[in-house]
Amino acid sequence: MQQRVPTPVQGSKQQPPDGPAGEQTADAPTKGARRWSRPDLIQPQILFTWLPLVIATALWVYSLPHIDYRHMDDWGLLDQLPAAFYLSLAVLTGGFVVSLRRAGTAPWWPGLYSVALLFALKAPTAILYNSVRYPWSSKHDAVVNHLLANQELRPGVPLSGNMAAYDQWPGFFTLNAGLVRAFGVDTAASYLNWASLFYGVVLIPVLVLIYRTFAEDWRLVWTGVWIFEVANWVGQDYFSPQGMALILDLAVLAVVFRHFVRPGAAGELRSRANLDPAAASIPPPTTGRQRAVCIAILAPLIAAINFTHQLTPVMLCVALFALNLTRRYRNPGLLVVTAVIMLIWDVTMGRPLFVETLASLKESVGNLLNNSRAGYAGELTGPGPVLQGRADVVMVLVIAGLAAVAVVLRRKLVKSALPLLLVSIAPVPLFAVNDYGGEMLFRVYLFGLPGAAFFAAAALVPAAAGQGKGRIRPVVRRRVAAVALPLVLVLLVAGFIPAYYGKERMYYTPPAETAMVTKVLDNAPKGSMILAVTGSFPQALHRYDQLEHWYVAEQEEPQNAIMLRDPVGYLEPQLPKDGRPVYFVLTRTQDFYTAGEGLLPAGGFAELKAKLEASPKFRVIDGNAYGTVLQYVAPRPG
């Protein structure tokens, strides 16, 4: 009997009678195991499993009131997080590593630590902030408000700044429109800071399901989840359609991995002798009819992805195409159905943006350098943003390096988990197609991360004792892993903080600034033009269907240098001449963003503001410590 033994992996040479053996150990306890006896909580092995969680929680709770987010400086949140916070993460990581030793018999402990890590890393801002985190979250809030105000979708109505795309892929926003009304709140701003935690909690079981399909060893599964969490610095799990679509995408892939194995295609991998000791048995094959039924079950998920987000269906198709390159998962029917659902949506609801994107492909295809850059690629400025930029790069290199080590050293695991590897690298060629508004880099990373985290974990979690062949003796490998695993996990957690919180000053939107912008936009007559240096400020797109927007510094950097020399002379020829009011909104968050992201040189924002205020063509109509609002004084006709 495999279960209830301390070693998590027992690589049997026999094929288990019912597929993934580890699943059996987890899900089919024997009669004897059901007899529950009270655990001895102070027995060292058990004590060091639960005690770190208690200590880490206490430290974390203690640290929360000491996080002074209102007075962030150039370092973002990094120097505002007290030592107790960092210590709680270290203790949590230690506890996780200890809990891994019992993962075979008590997989819920590392699971609990993983959930605790999610909260420890991402809950502080949700709990503490008195306003929206990420200015672009408020854009999505504005879309929900827009739908609730109009009570209909208008995919064909062109809107300033390509905002009509949200009416074309509205699933996430209509769902939130339902929630806003059903919750009884005024806007989604009431709850949107909790999105990253919500997504994280929903995503963990999906990740576990995928990892369990390829790994029997719970240590590998939970280490993969842990690495995914700390490597997910990319900040796409905010209140956004892509956050939800990623979960649906991974859910579809999980079902595909488990239920779309073709008969006779697993070949020699059916024998455990040919599998890595940590690997799970290949899922049982299914008949064509069973797979057809499964496609019908998946259809709502695939449709919802298409309702929700424009890029994720492409990523899903690319992943399914990559799977079709294997004998095991050659299911052209599923790929065709997914592609057809995507095309139907693209040529009906999503037609305007789809046509526009197709037209722009002529320029973007093959332009690898341009497509893979982040945003407008200004030079990060200030200690926090610079550190965040470097931490991001280091995190990517560490994860990729670890995954590469696993690919080289654990070939048997790679062979059985090849579908996961293929799905992870499948999005990379999209760099050759389009820049996705400067976001392609982050999206490719995000979609590749689940697989990369799994293989990075495989580099750190050794095969069970006495198993596996190689030049390095198992005992040496275990000793190396005993040091490398905690060390790398601590370094990754430490790397996450600057990678996620280094630019926090750009992300926190003070309530006074929000109120000022809301007031100006509420009072602006319909058709007014709203100028701002960048769109990265709270409520930037409030009433976006009634106002026109121009974010003047969101262009190539040399143009900004020209604009800065004579802002009024640069802007005035492009302002409306039909008498519509023009407002220039300058806020503190814009200042931090343009400086941090390098859109304007140091002092450039202040210079621009001073020149506009000094110009007779603009007059100040509102202002406080968080911003200034100017109105353009149009020349009298004649």
Binding site: D18, P170, A182, V208, L248, H259, A304
Partner: protein
């Protein structure tokens, strides 16, 4: 059908209507948004995937657990978008449609995905020698 299965079905079927009833509460009290959130996040998926027959392969429960929320959110997004498309959106219509869907789905056995059932092919056959990727 065992009593526990009946309990599961009745509970899931009622959860949608309970969420709908909660919207009658004033403001955004926890007694209002918690049942709504739980139902929209878990209800429809739960109704589709549970109760599972006892003969499922090991791991099927983990699978159902992982897919409950993605399926529920999918149906929430599909339903709300369709309501907007037919100009019939309201919180009541949104919750009624999901609650009705869940109630109907509860009347059927949980969806057993093919490889989770005992009927998957080639289970007892010898694997052919040869490579498989």
């Amino acid at each position: 059908m065992t009593l526990s299965q009946t309990h599961v079905r009745v509970t899931v079927a009622l959860s949608g209507w309970l969420a709908l009833a909660a919207t009658a509460l004033p403001g955004a009290s926890p007694a209002r948004w918690i049942p709504v959130l739980l139902f929209v996040t878990l209800g429809p998926g739960f109704a589709l995937l549970y109760p599972q027959p006892g003969t499922l392969r090991p791991g099927a429960r983990l699978e159902a657990l992982a897919l409950v929320a993605p399926l529920s959110l999918s149906f929430g997004a599909l339903m709300s978008t369709c309501l907007f498309l037919v100009h019939g959106f309201s919180a009541t219509a949104f919750l009624i449609s999901l609650a009705a869907f869940s109630t109907v789905a509860c009347a059927f056995p949980g969806l057993p995905l093919p490889a989770a059932t005992r009927g998957a092919v080639e289970r007892t056959k010898r694997a052919k020698p040869g490579a498989g990727r």
